[in-house]
Symmetry: C2
Subunit: 260 residues, 2 copies
Amino acid sequence: VDRDHNFPDLKYEHFIASAVSSFPVFRMAAKKELSCGELILRAVEDSSKWHKAKNVHFGAFLLLIPLLANWDAENSAKAGELSLQYLKNTTYKDSLHVLNAFRISSARVMGSKKLDLRDDDTERFITEERVNLYKWMSMAPKDNIIAKEIINSYTISVKQSRKLIEWYKELDDLNHAIVLCYHDMLSRLIDPLIISKFGRDAALEVSKKAGEIMNLPEKQRLDKIKEFDEELIEKGINPGSVADLTISTIYLAMLDGLRF
Amino acid sequence: VDRDHNFPDLKYEHFIASAVSSFPVFRMAAKKELSCGELILRAVEDSSKWHKAKNVHFGAFLLLIPLLANWDAENSAKAGELSLQYLKNTTYKDSLHVLNAFRISSARVMGSKKLDLRDDDTERFITEERVNLYKWMSMAPKDNIIAKEIINSYTISVKQSRKLIEWYKELDDLNHAIVLCYHDMLSRLIDPLIISKFGRDAALEVSKKAGEIMNLPEKQRLDKIKEFDEELIEKGINPGSVADLTISTIYLAMLDGLRF
């Protein structure tokens, strides 16, 4: 989904409505008025009130809530470190809240041996083993790039946010800079949502193609990106986790002073 | 400006940033925590913090603040009536706040004999004659369709909001429905921002052309609208006041239950 492309059941206006409805819970996160898990659950609940799509921002909320709880970090790298610490201080109750948030949002996620989010045994395991959010994310499948990003102090988003700022200075076009940032990440990461729907080979192929495009001269690059986007859309391939990481990247760029 | 077209100094992301930054003052409006004029000024000030454009939503804020102060009206027509009453209860101090908001936003407005917003005598006149917002808007030039809309209880937006809901049901495409709504209004109204920059004949021609397009069979209409948009953009013609009325229309449609 982007400004010019909708899916039948997931549309651009759903993202707008979800983003707007997030304001109150984001403010609560900044004030730490609720625990991490409660905030994520509240974000999903509030989002669901204002649009008819199922999952719009589940992955984005997982990424953003810890960062917002540390909004006053002096820079993006520090925000990433503090967010990791914040995750380590959660409890198993936070994990249960996130499990509920997942069930409401019907997010597509990869299975894992112990903590398949679709499995009712997960709730029992979290409770009995008192698995907090940090531990739970540490147990996520290695392909879950969102969980990995969080437990690695958001290193990808921090690095990409610096590129985003540079690209914006160079191009003086925010949308173009964001698109480049997204495609750059797509060229370096294997999106788990492609793996889960089309298999690993397809996901690798997408990253390879994105990498070839990123290596083109600047004048050709944006046109090729548009062609590639159309191709992915026709095939129903939606790199949604890389899109989520683009969101945390934009947030961190703004924390570091991006204004437009 | 729309999803696919920017001006050099006014871009899509400015509208997004302005809309997002409006949340706190819109909540204050709903709770009537400040007076009407203070709210409008605050909205402009908050908007200005988060983007580098000058005027993004001045006209929209004039339209939305009274409606939001009456968010709990039972329907859109009632909201329009209550908003008019709300305007009648303002004081000259509210007019001074709006004058300040205008100066901050550098909005382009039409001159009038007595209350040209660009004229320092205006402040003196408002103070000496104790001109409240309702009276001030009543004195606006007849071509000022925003002031007229407000003192006429938002009758245009109420009517268009019903069309918007119907078009959305028919088309199942929110963006398409909004575009039709905008063009329908463009076919019926003469945009003062076109008059002020290109003259009345040009503004009449734009409305006439929009009317011809709205009369086309549905299958042809959207393509012709896109062509017409490109033509206007190439000529630097920006029907900004009709765009503002589209905003109040969308708000009222949501008040009447539009969900997507």
